[in-house]
């Protein structure tokens, strides 16, 4: 279909005010937080489920790719229109539709910003647990599509553990309800497979989220180490003792320095590593548990322990952690972040090897990670204008993925496969595994129009 005709039709479907089609807009929507870039043919910002349904039906009838997009913070190219087509930007659908506190549920539109929702809930004394570091800007729709994690998923699980139902627009524009406020609806757990499907199976226009009362007590500790290995060993020892804190977050010296320079939160810039340990739950027994954890830290040669005395001190520590990517981003023009995940017991040796990979390719690597989950975030720093450096970055990223797989882990813990890691899929899945996933894709999206070119490699390895 001619681009102008397409734009004309879309204007008719959703209104002139909800369609963007200037060159400037194409440039604004050609990227996300990854290195991938590709322009959409048209951008629509629907304001209702009905409009999303109409656009999807139109795309289906004319075999045009569609891609749902929220804040565009995706780290794996998931929100880039690599095959062109229509970018359906859901940021105008940002209402909280139903604060059903009695049933411990909220119903929201996909464009609601995660932190905005959490702030509203906090006023009522309730929490929505998932807390991706980017929660200030990311949307619930994007969090669900990527199955985002965050520090607290060590104890509370990832996004898909907290999204219980969605309103879903199918490939032909039909709108269905999947899951809901009640648990255990009969049938296949379609919610399970929709979470983390990166917009390749349908577009959600509403989500039912689980909320919970705020914990009675929280204790946040900042543990400072002279060696990254000792920090890693502490993590393994805590879990090995059968203690599962709410968070076990770690960052290395390069990250600490960048954070301190950017935010002045009081991290010691000469430390090799810091570990942020948070406990939450009932106050009873928490002091004893804290002592046990601090003993483990001491056995692993912790240099200094700072226990946050109040909410302000706690906020400061978390501001440092959540701002880490942004702070590191100031060091070089670009960074590429991997999110390979290993069994948490393999963390110290994996980290040592990541450092070696950085040396081998002569690239600075800053490390921030969800240590309790074994989820690494090596940030490889570079300048994309330097083509030689860029090639080394991609080679190093692939090697880190392979390393995680060799350690018994996986290539992505929370950022998704998107385009960036699609070649890594064959490191962990056999042709049969991928074929089984493709059947699911075919059942939801027989014409392959939802976010084509993502997640599943299109050509299988030679048999």
């Amino acid at each position: 279909m001619e681009k102008d005709t397409m734009i004309g039709e879309l204007v008719r479907l959703v209104g002139r005010e909800n369609v963007l089609s200037s060159d400037m807009h194409f440039k604004l929507y050609e990227y996300d937080a990854s290195l991938i870039r590709s322009k959409p043919d048209c951008i629509v910002l629907p304001t209702s489920t009905e409009q999303v349904s109409k656009v999807v039906k139109f795309a289906h009838d004319h075999k045009i790719p569609v891609i749902a997009r929220g804040a565009g913070t995706n780290l794996s190219g998931g929100s880039v229109t690599v095959r062109g087509g229509i970018a359906i930007v859901l940021t105008k659908m940002n209402r909280i539709l139903d604060m059903d506190i009695e049933n411990l549920r909220v119903v929201v539109e996909p464009g609601v910003v995660t932190l905005d929702l959490k702030n509203v809930l906090a006023r009522h004394g309730y929490l929505y647990q998932p807390d991706p570091a980017s929660e200030k800007v990311t949307t619930i729709g994007g969090n669900f599509a990527e199955n985002s994690g965050g520090p607290h998923c060590l104890k509370y699980g990832v996004t898909s553990n907290h999204v219980l139902g969605v309103e879903l627009v199918l490939y032909d524009g039909q709108v269905v309800q999947v899951g809901g406020k009640a648990l255990d609806n009969p049938g296949y757990d379609l919610m399970g497979v929709l979470g983390g499907s990166e917009g390749t199976l349908g577009i959600i226009t509403q989500a039912v989220l689980r909320i919970m009362p705020k914990a009675e007590a929280v204790k946040t500790m900042l543990c400072i180490y002279n060696s990254i290995e000792e920090g890693g060993n502490t993590v393994t020892a805590i879990i090995g003792e059968g203690i599962i804190p709410a968070t076990l977050e770690m960052m290395d010296n390069l990250t600490i320095k960048a954070v301190e320079e950017a935010y002045h939160v009081g991290f010691p810039t000469d430390a090799a590593a810091i570990l942020i340990i948070e406990l939450d739950g009932l106050k009873d027994g928490m002091e004893r548990l804290t002592e046990r954890i601090l003993d483990i830290c001491r056995q692993n040669n912790v240099r200094e322990i700072r226990v946050a005395k109040d909410q302000a001190e706690r906020d400061k520590i978390w501001a440092g952690r959540k701002g880490a990517f942004g702070a590191v981003g100031r060091l070089r023009p670009n960074y590429l972040v991997n999110d390979g995940t290993v069994p948490r017991t393999r963390l110290p040796e994996t980290l040592a090897k990541v450092v070696e990979i950085g040396k081998k390719y002569n690239l600075p690597i800053a490390n921030v990670f969800h240590a309790g989950d074994g989820n690494l975030h090596p940030l490889i720093l570079f300048d994309e204008r330097d083509k030689d450096e860029l090639a080394r970055v991609h080679a190093a990223a692939m090697e880190i993925m392979k390393l995680c797989v060799d350690m018994g882990g996986t290539i992505s813990g929370e950022h998704g496969i998107g385009v960036e890691k699609i070649e890594g899929m064959s490191l962990i899945f056999s042709d049969s595994d991928i074929a089984a996933m493709k059947k699911v894709k075919a059942a939801f999206d027989p014409l392959n129009l939802f976010n084509p070119g993502k997640v599943l490699p299109e050509t299988e390895k030679a048999a």
Binding site: N147, N161, Y188, S197, F429, S432
Partner: protein
């Protein structure tokens, strides 16, 4: 299709003659809703499961996967049963990574055996699932039917616990999803899709799950009430409090009676965790219960604490004193929004009484799951029970829920919808089944959208 003698000898060629049951008398024990299979096959490896399914796929044989058979009265009436595929010989613990708190086990092992090993290894851990019949139920069966119990209030259900899963697809492909990391977004989350899929998308052969450290202490608090509204008010207050019981069950007098407790309504709390927290919660919930108007409260510890929950879990088998009551044939399961559970329990009680049907009701008050056990089912009661299921379903549907028949004799299944009211996403489920299992060989007819 070749005749059954031909394919049975082919199956013997795959797994060896001793592992194929053909004797009609023995086959009767494997009948599903009265349909006896033509053979039972008992493979000894995943490779054999793969070859069996690949053969069944070609010959379009209907295959019913099975563990210890605790769920055989569940599900829709099968369209056809050619083969029962017993997973009982595939029953190893394949990896217990103690420091990682993860465990991989094959489908045919029982949960009870797994728990025994976990308690005795290292500092002790457990798999926080407490489904019915957990002495007999196999891991494969529990996961395939997403079976759960009272403690899901704190520990959640299989979908939030499993890290990975291996299965054999209907065409015989061996597939593996997820892994042993606690976070994983590589590819589609097929593990969740397989949980509760009733073996209709593939035969689960192995799972990998998170484990939890054993709680330091545990106790049970029982609060009996004369008035349902007061009991409901207590559960509501706990639900919205900072307290964290591992189970919170609300039951009617008939259920309490069968458990040997005297109460018009009973709220049972399981408290587990560090010693200080258990003690405080017992005290605090006890006081709150009295303030809410509880007639009596009681604390169970040690063996009493443990056995109480086994009896709740295995309610359909419950024995009082030395007298073993036969398993109850009709069990219904409703899911509703959490806050309405007490009110709906009251309505169900009235409806059952008006219909003259003995019915014990137990609800997961923290999860909105209400189980109805028909106590006096017999052929004469069928008409009224059919009507009652209709009324129960309507009531659940008013509160964003549904009702499934969890256990039932065939005659009743012929007159009710086992999987409740249709939902708008059935269209996707049907397409999914048709795409994954185009020949319809796995459990045809038994699950939602079964083609």
């Amino acid at each position: 299709m070749s005749n059954s003698n031909q394919w049975i000898s082919a199956l013997k060629g795959i797994i060896g003659e001793p592992n194929v049951i053909q004797d009609p008398d023995r086959l009767k024990a494997y009948a599903v809703d009265g349909l006896a299979p033509k053979a039972v096959v008992i493979p000894g490896s995943v490779e054999e499961v793969s070859r069996l399914l690949a053969y069944a796929y070609l010959e379009k044989l209907a295959v019913v996967p099975r563990g210890n058979g605790t769920k055989m009265a569940a599900g829709g009436i099968p369209l056809k049963v050619d083969l029962v595929l017993s997973m009982l010989r595939i029953n190893r613990i394949t990896e217990h990574d103690i420091p990682n708190l993860s465990l991989s086990v094959e489908a045919g092992i029982t949960l009870a055996e797994v728990q025994k090993k976990l308690v005795a290894t290292g500092k002790g851990s457990f798999l926080p699932l407490d489904p019915p019949y957990s002495e007999q139920a196999t891991i494969g069966g529990i996961i395939a039917t997403n079976s759960s119990g009272p403690r899901r209030y704190l520990y959640s259900s299989a979908r939030d616990l499993l890290l990975g899963l291996k299965a054999v697809s209907p065409n015989g492909d061996v597939v593996a999803f997820g892994g042993k990391t606690v976070k994983n977004v590589s590819g589609y989350d097929m593990t969740k899709l397989m949980i509760g899929s009733w073996g209709a998308l593939g035969v689960i052969t192995e799972i990998t799950t998170k484990l939890l450290p054993l709680p330091e202490a545990s106790a049970t608090l029982l609060a009996s009430f004369g008035d349902l509204a007061k009991a409901g008010s207590l559960t509501r207050k706990i639900l919205h409090s900072v307290l964290l019981p591992s189970a919170m069950e609300l039951m009617d007098g008939k259920a309490a009676d069968r458990l040997g407790e005297k109460a018009r309504y009973l709220v049972a709390f399981s408290l587990e965790g560090v010693g200080e927290a258990v003690e405080r919660q017992v005290a605090e919930i006890g006081e709150l219960a009295k303030r809410e108007g509880a007639v009596d409260t009681k604390v169970l510890k040690g063996e009493d604490d443990r056995t109480f929950w086994i009896r709740v879990r295995d309610f359909a088998l419950a024995s009082v004193g030395a007298r073993l009551i036969a398993p109850l044939p009709v069990i219904l399961r409703s899911n509703v929004v959490i806050s309405k559970l007490p009110e709906i329990l009251g309505r169900y009680e009235t409806m059952a009484r008006d219909a003259g049907i003995g019915c014990a009701l137990i609800g997961h008050a923290g999860n909105g799951i209400l189980t109805s056990y028909i106590l006096d089912y017999g052929a004469a009661k069928m008409g009224p029970v059919v009507d009652l299921i209709g009324k129960f379903t309507d009531e659940a549907a008013k509160h964003e829920g549904n009702l499934i028949v969890e256990s039932s004799p065939r005659d009743l299944k012929e007159r009710v919808s086992v999987w409740g009211r249709p939902r708008s996403d059935d269209v996707v489920m049907r397409r999914l089944k048709e795409t994954v299992d185009p020949g319809g060989i796995l459990n045809p007819g038994r699950f939602v959208g079964g083609v």
